[in-house]
């Protein structure tokens, strides 16, 4: 490995080294430039101490493996990586903005601001998790807030890419993470669960909501492990002005057992964006910690668990999708609404962790935008909500799995698309009205959703009476069919 010391003005692989921005225990950041790259970039170089500290080297190897595989707004864009064995470095985008660490002094934030901040981080997490990476060190100093408001993660030195070998697990026999934020399962050496990041985000939200760390600043292994059985003081006990929905969200993130937390970051995001739809449970109203007996039972259970490395379980995100049903409640569309419900029901029966958002769009008249503010408008809105719930009643879905939304918009397709995007909807089921010449000419809502949504869209139709007949060949080429033998 090259041991030469970098300095301002020197050149490495064509990068001109500029000012030193930061020296940390693990790495040093230099501002650099290179002809052809006209955005601000930095070079991250591992801090090599005497005797090749394995933590730093392996952590940096992981980061060099993971960072170039990530893309999108919520991670720094990578421009180059050095040779692993000869001269390790990563050249990446310099994120202009503010580290979330600087905002910790502002705590406690207003509940709405906690939710907004949480939603931005949950959005970034959902994006990261979809790219098969668990960050495993979510904390304010590893989150940058871009000028646009988007959250971006930095420092993937403890992260796990679920499709790549975990070099860190192989190297260390001790849990890795940051004391106040580390999840219970990380303490048991499980580095494969996306819900670990949801736990750490819960710690962060608790802190921003109360100005108190839920598990303090543990100094010993025993103090660290307490979170495996002992729940934190409910936030509302510390700050009675925190609304029950926010306490529900935060405490659900902080559940000791990952199975009791939100199944995905997208589910958490959904609650943060729809506070009035949060299903309140005992968590929302509690003002004391769980009875000591409950904690004792957890403690007892934990004693039987061994701290051993885990293999990733495939498809944990796919099992808990957010599904949107776009329901047309217009008169004359009853058959279509029923066909849609039938398909939604089939889907729900196969996926136990699915979350269903029932959406109806109330079309606004462009010329009367204040229409929804008057008495009649409110009545229509409430009426649609009632009809939507009535539509969904035969599905017999538990309350915590279903939400109802009446959107008001002049362009129904735009309203649906915005909802899909901002809530990270995984699949849409939408009915298509018949195919009249008029519709083909103007374009329908469903076809626009199909064309523009970034997720899977299922279009439900009601067959026209008499529509089934002989298939007439549309071209001269004959249909060729082949059938597999045997098997």
């Amino acid at each position: 490995m090259v041991r030469e010391v970098l300095e301002t003005g020197s050149t490495v692989d064509g990068y001109l080294i500029g000012e030193k921005l930061h020296t940390g225990g693990m790495a040093t950041l230099w501002r650099v430039s290179k002809p052809g790259i006209d955005v601000p970039i930095v070079m991250k170089v591992p801090t090599i101490l005497d005797g090749d500290d394995a933590t730093i080297i392996v952590g940096f190897e992981m980061e060099m493996m993971i960072l170039p595989r990530l893309s999108g707004l919520h991670v720094p864009k990578v421009y180059g990586i050095g040779d692993y064995s000869r001269r390790p470095y990563v050249v990446m985008e310099y994120i202009e903005g503010r580290a979330l660490l600087d905002r910790l002094d502002e705590a406690p934030l207003l509940p709405e601001d906690v939710a907004t901040l949480g939603a931005r981080i949950a959005t970034a997490l959902a994006d990261l998790h979809r790219q098969n990476v668990v960050h495993l060190d979510i904390k304010p100093s590893n989150i940058m807030m871009r000028a646009s408001g988007d959250a971006a993660f930095i420092d993937f030195g403890l992260s796990r890419h679920l499709q790549l070998p975990d070099l860190l697990e192989a190297e260390f026999q001790v849990p890795m993470g940051t004391g106040p934020y580390i999840s219970p399962e990380q303490l048991l050496r499980n580095r494969t669960d996306r819900r670990s990041d949801i736990f750490s985000l819960g710690v962060l939200l608790y802190h921003f909501a109360t100005k108190v760390r839920p598990f303090g600043y543990p100094q010993s292994h025993h103090q660290l492990r307490k979170r495996l059985w002992r729940d934190p003081i409910p936030p509302r006990k510390l700050r009675p002005d925190i609304p029950p929905w926010l306490q529900e969200i935060i405490l659900r993130c902080l559940e000791p057992d990952p199975k009791d937390r939100y199944p995905t970051a997208a589910h958490l995001l959904f609650d943060l964006q729809h506070p009035n739809q949060v299903q309140l449970t005992g968590r929302a109203h509690k003002v004391t910690r769980d009875p000591i007996f409950t904690a004792w039972k957890r403690w007892f259970r934990v004693q039987g668990l061994e701290a051993v490395p885990h293999q990733p379980e495939p498809g944990s995100i796919a099992a808990a999708p957010i599904v949107m049903a776009a329901v047309d409640l217009s008169e004359g569309m009853e058959a279509l609404a029923e066909a849609l419900r039938l398909d939604v029901g089939r889907m729900l029966s196969t996926l136990p962790d699915v979350r269903l958002a029932c959406v109806n769009v109330l079309k606004l008249n462009r010329l009367a935008m204040n229409y929804s503010l008057d008495e009649e408008g409110r009545n229509i809105h409430v009426q649609k909500l009632v009809e939507l719930k009535e539509w969904a009643r035969p599905l017999r879905l538990e309350q915590e799995r279903i939400t109802f939304h009446v959107l008001e918009h002049a362009e129904p397709a735009q309203a649906l698309l915005e909802f899909i995007r901002s809530n990270h909807v995984d699949q849409v089921l939408i009915g298509a009205r018949g195919s009249s010449t008029f519709r083909r000419f103007l374009g329908s809502v469903s076809s626009q959703v199909v064309a523009e949504a970034e997720c899977t869209v299922t279009v439900v139709r009601v067959p026209l009476p008499g529509a089934l007949g002989l298939v007439r060949p549309v071209s001269a080429s004959p249909l060729v069919e082949s059938t597999a033998k045997g098997a």
Binding site: M65, Q163, D166
Partner: protein, 247 residues
């Protein structure tokens, strides 16, 4: 440079052709055959001809234990099914084909990589690298950074720091894995012609020397035809049946 690695073809023409067609749809600059071209399957003559053609165009071909047995007729260390198939294969091959197999090298070094059929610790002992300790024994026996082998019929990847024990990783199909860092790697390629990891699709791999990324691939192929030929040749029926289940 992108290198395709094909191991354990075992006389399965349909599986080899499917892998070569798959490789043909991407840029491959070099082919490496990691041994066991024949044995078990019903097309040894075709496979030897085909691989010979590739060798003439620069491919590297390594000797496998089945190749050696088929070339010499010595099947004393084989189980009864392998023995039956190898005795048949020996009779099918002409003198040229036998000579081709017999003259294959036990291993080849290529830059910082070692190609061997079984392991680097003792290539002629035909050890199976089925766990981390056996992988470690092989890696400690070579100074090469990356070893590529076959023989086991189940894809696996091992890595090892100089002062630490080796670690096993189960590669996922299609995800490029950077085999980098201050460590050694040992990649067991799955079998083209007789997969045994409960996935019947033919297995091969591609290594990109520019990105140092290794990708494990699976290619579905026409198992029915391969099976019919095994039956027609009156080879043990279990050699055909196992292809459907990949065991």
């Amino acid at each position: 440079m992108r290198i395709a690695f094909l191991s354990d073809i075992h006389g399965n023409r349909e599986a080899l052709d499917a892998c070569l067609a798959h490789a043909g749809r991407q840029t491959i600059d070099r082919f490496v055959f990691l041994g066991d071209l024949v044995g078990y399957g019903a097309d040894p003559v075709y496979i030897v001809d085909k691989v010979n053609e590739f060798k003439d165009r620069g491919a590297l071909v390594i000797l496998g234990n089945h190749d050696l047995a088929a070339a010499t007729g010595d099947t004393s260390n084989m189980n009864e099914y392998a023995k039956a198939a190898l005795d048949w294969t020996f009779r099918e091959l002409d003198a040229d084909a036998r000579a081709f197999l017999k003259n294959l090298p036990m291993s080849e070094a290529d830059e910082d990589r070692l190609y061997v059929h079984a392991d680097a610790f003792s290539p002629t002992a035909w050890n199976y690298v089925t766990d981390a300790s056996r992988a470690e024994r092989s890696m400690r026996a070579t100074t090469k950074r990356l070893t590529l082998c076959g023989h086991v019929h189940r894809p696996a990847l091992y890595h090892m720091m100089p002062t630490k024990p080796a670690v096993h990783f189960l590669p996922q199909t299609g995800a490029g894995i950077p085999v980098v860092g201050n460590r050694q790697w040992l990649a067991v390629m799955g079998a083209v012609g007789q997969p045994r990891d409960e996935n019947p699709a033919a297995a091969y791999g591609v290594f990109d020397t520019a990105t140092q990324e290794l990708t494990y691939l699976r290619v579905p192929y026409d198992i029915e035809s391969a099976v019919e030929k095994i039956h027609a040749a009156k080879l043990p029926r279990i050699l055909a049946a196992r292809l459907f289940v990949g065991r």
